[in-house]
């Protein structure tokens, strides 16, 4: 099986945020599985706390969701809303552990790790009162994979056996055939069986992810691919809330779903999400009491960092820089790359431009697990070249001598032109000029253009960012395998490839974790990539809001267990 098909697909550029939220705070456009979760307030999910006051919550939402369709949604702004109005087999709790949701219990997994059998909960219904069946899940997976659905976020569903055959089928007949052969079957009304192409250690958590939600065929067919999920009346879920109003570009109103199986534990009666793109306006609304939740940008954070209402959500997102080796042959030299990395004052970056974020010390962000129950960063330690201007100059001189060059040519760094994007470029160019004595020109550009140049390897230096799709170091490390579609800098290391590929098929979790730590050591020693910071979302939440869970990936917040206590 080709590497690309499975592994590279498991990464997501955090596009939604940089794309749509033009102020410095960005959406978390990532998604994945278990990790140490961040919850904004003591979770009151236990139902022990007695909510008081009107159970209404008003949120400043930075992006109008593009589409609220389970198959078509591809950004965190959609995932978050769909997570409130619908549900998968499991729902991640505040510790990011999968709790049975539409499933009655955790899945039965075959010894080879390939077959998952799930019993559905009794009495689960859609918001319209009709029962949710195992067939609804099968239909959902098939629809997502069908090329006619034009789902661009289907790659995780393609982990199901035969999934890729559906995605790549050319004719409707082939699609139908492939769909019938798909490794997802309804054994009966209440039992779902999923066969995987290869074992995925964190698949149970993945089943809590949006792409694995059920869909009701009758309802989807009524609107068709064109209109399903387009308006409030064209969305049907089986979750704690129903979408009452969707005023495009303006606001969304959620109301409690009385038919939800766990309605007794849902405290909120109404959630209003106002689309507010400007952070300053967001804070103004928060200050006047017109919002209970707003995201801060760097300067706002600096002023409010001691405020009790501030919640810091560490995301599994790393901002980093890549050096293109083919366009700039000098970057084939390890010492030159190390010099460019060591010349960046990363702490300075998070103190000035990206206030509230964390300076990077390796590629995998802090908070990311190692696949063996521990936090990867704690096990691996600080691996990246530390900031040291003098050493950087020395490394550059040595590197240039090795490469037979007199000096570095003037290079151009590209990056996004919204939010903090241009400021980061400006910062880096200044650092390299002042600490290394090399000239770097900045070239901010629209997101889609930057991405195109990056993926086509048509750049010299690029400033970019990534979010984890699942909480495992593989989501970070498999992207730099030789020939990987995200290995845009053309870096290659046989030893690294061996370690990562070995880990991919390693069933011994301890060994696997060790190999991955070793792999990152190579990545960092060779300065193949230059990580800058780990992103943190800084949020103001009114103290009366309890139990609002803020997972580090996937969705911006989880509303099911939230309540108002005044």
């Amino acid at each position: 099986m080709k590497f690309k098909k499975f592994t590279s697909t498991a990464l997501v550029l955090t596009l939604a945020g940089s794309l749509l939220a033009a102020c410095s705070g960005n959406n978390s456009g990532s998604n994945a599985s278990e990790s140490a979760g961040n919850s904004s307030a003591p979770a009151s999910g236990s139902a022990s706390a007695k909510p008081t006051g009107p159970q209404e919550l008003v949120i400043n939402y930075r992006t109008d969701p593009p589409a609220l369709d389970v198959s078509i949604a591809e950004s965190s702004s959609s995932f978050t809303i769909l997570g409130a109005i619908s549900e998968g087999l499991y729902r991640l709790d505040k510790d990011l552990q999968p709790q049975p949701a539409l499933a009655a219990e955790l899945p039965q997994i075959s010894p080879d790790g390939l077959t998952y059998t799930v019993k559905l909960r009794d009495g689960i219904t859609w918001a319209d009162g009709t029962p949710v069946t195992a067939q609804d899940f099968v239909y959902s997976f098939r629809r997502t994979l069908d090329p006619a659905t034009k789902a661009t976020y289907a790659f995780m569903v393609a982990w199901i056996k035969g999934g890729e055959a559906v995605m790549t089928a050319k004719t409707p007949e082939d699609v139908k055939k492939a769909q019938e052969a798909l490794g997802a079957k309804a054994l009966d009304e209440k039992t779902l069986e999923i066969k995987l192409e290869r074992p995925v250690a964190f698949f149970t958590s993945t089943l809590a992810f949006l792409n694995f939600y059920p869909q009701k065929q009758e309802f989807v067919d009524k609107w068709g691919n064109e209109k399903s999920g387009a308006d409030a009346d064209k969305v049907l879920g089986a979750g704690p809330f129903v979408l009452k109003t969707w005023d495009h570009g303006q606001k969304l109103v959620l109301e409690k779903n009385p038919k939800y199986w766990d309605a007794a534990n849902v405290k909120l009666d109404k959630v209003t999400l106002n689309v507010v793109k400007d952070n300053a306006t967001g804070l103004n609304l928060y200050d006047t009491g017109a919002a209970d939740y707003t995201v801060l940008d760097g300067t706002q954070y600096m002023q409010l960092k001691d405020n009790k209402e501030l919640v810091r959500k560490k995301e599994l997102v790393t901002g980093y820089v890549n050096f293109q080796h083919t366009k700039v042959p000098a970057f084939k030299n390890v010492k030159i790359r190390q010099a460019y990395t060591a010349a960046i004052d990363r702490q300075g970056l998070v103190d000035t431009v990206l206030q509230g974020n964390t300076a990077a010390v390796g590629y995998t962000p802090s908070g990311n697990l190692d696949g063996n129950g521990q936090e990867f960063r704690k096990v691996a330690g600080d691996l990246e070249q530390p900031f040291d201007a003098a050493k950087a100059k020395e490394l550059l001189a040595q590197g240039l001598a090795e490469a037979g060059l007199k000096e570095m040519p003037e290079l151009t760094i590209i990056g996004d032109d919204n939010g903090t994007g241009p400021k980061v470029l400006e910062f880096l160019a200044g650092q390299w000029e002042q600490n290394l004595g090399v000239k770097v020109k900045t070239s901010p550009m629209p997101h889609a253009n930057r991405l195109e140049l990056e993926l086509n390897k048509n750049y010299e230096i690029v400033s970019t960012l990534w979010g984890a799709d699942y909480n495992d170091p593989m989501t970070w490390l498999d992207m730099y395998l030789t020939g990987g579609s995200f290995n845009t800098q053309d870096w290659s290391s046989a030893e690294y490839d061996k370690l990562v590929k070995g880990a991919q098929s390693d069933t011994n979790l301890e060994n696997r974790a060790k190999s991955l730590v070793e792999a990152e050591k190579i990545l960092m020693n060779e300065a193949a990539v230059s990580p800058l910071y780990y992103r943190t979302l800084n949020i103001m939440v009114k103290p009366k809001v309890k139990g609002l869970i803020q997972p580090p990936y996937g969705v911006e917040f989880e509303l099911k267990w939230t309540s108002i206590e005044e």
């Binding site: 690309k4 098909k5 590279s8 697909t9 990464l11 997501v12 550029l13 794309l19 749509l20 033009a22 109008d64 593009p66 589409a67 369709d69 078509i72 591809e74 090329p147 006619a148 034009k150 661009t152 976020y153 289907a154 790659f155 393609a158 890729e164 995605m167 790549t168 089928a169 050319k170 064109e226 209109k227 999920g229 387009a230 064209k234 005023d247 495009h248 570009g249 303006q250 106002n274 689309v275 507010v276 793109k277 400007d278 300053a280 306006t281 103004n284 609304l285 200050d287 006047t288 017109a290 919204n418 629209p446 997101h447 889609a448 253009n449 991405l451 195109e452 140049l453 993926l455 579609s485």
Partner: protein, 309 residues
Amino acid sequence: MLKYAVRRIIYMIITLWVIVTATFFLMKLLPGNPFANASAKLPPEALAIIIQQYGLDQPEWKQYLKYVVNITQGDFGVSYQYPTRTVAEVISKSFQASLELGLESLFLAIIVGLTLGTVAALKHNKLGDYSAMFVALVGISIPSFVVGPLLSLYVGVKAGWLPPGLWDGPEHRIMPAIALSFGTIAILARMMRASMLEVSSMDYIKTAKSKGLSTTAVVRNHMVRNAILPVVTILGPIAVNVITGTLVVERIFAVPGLGAQFVESIYSNDYTMITGLTLFYASILVVVMFVTDIVYGLVDPRIRVAGRR
């Protein structure tokens, strides 16, 4: 007159066609594609099929022909950013807010701007002139991305008189309309002042005065009516600009308008949206300019003869 109007309408259609064509091909020059985000995640075969589903694998001239044929049937395609919404739906929804906000601010600007301009001209080089123009100049001297946040913070939060943002009730309309009208007031006031001064030296004004007409009558019937002429020419384009949405004010006051759509669709290479918005903007502009010319003729009978031989 009718013949003239028919000819102008034909011209308008040609103009719009040229614009659609130009935009369509200009946009294809933009690097990147709407699926850049997905392109590295999906297997290449699957991506190829999706691109095929959208018809983007066809030669550009075929895509173009199909697009033009669809447009004539009122189909502007589906937005790539909002895959379940058509371009027409997105535009008509966001245009509601922009139009309302624009008309409110335009109304405000016309009243304030023309008054300031007229007063300034009548009190030429006196205190009234200076104060009126100072008020107008303040508006033109400070960018809306300064005025907007200042209003939102000081009037909205510190004073608490009006909501600092959102678009629900009438109270939410006031601040954005004021913020949006600042620039327009200044433009109109200055045009009006210059034009009034121009007119005031004309012989027919002297004639009117020497006939013994009251000052009010001279000002109202002769000066303002003639002075408003150059102002009318720019009023059309100004109106188009304010009703088609302004990114800055809409963003700052969280108004669900058209302003941000354009920038966002360029950012995400949303081809159908860019072309649709350009066409929409151009149609309004062309129609408004047509109407302006007609009004121009009605306001000044001389033009009807002179301009359209």
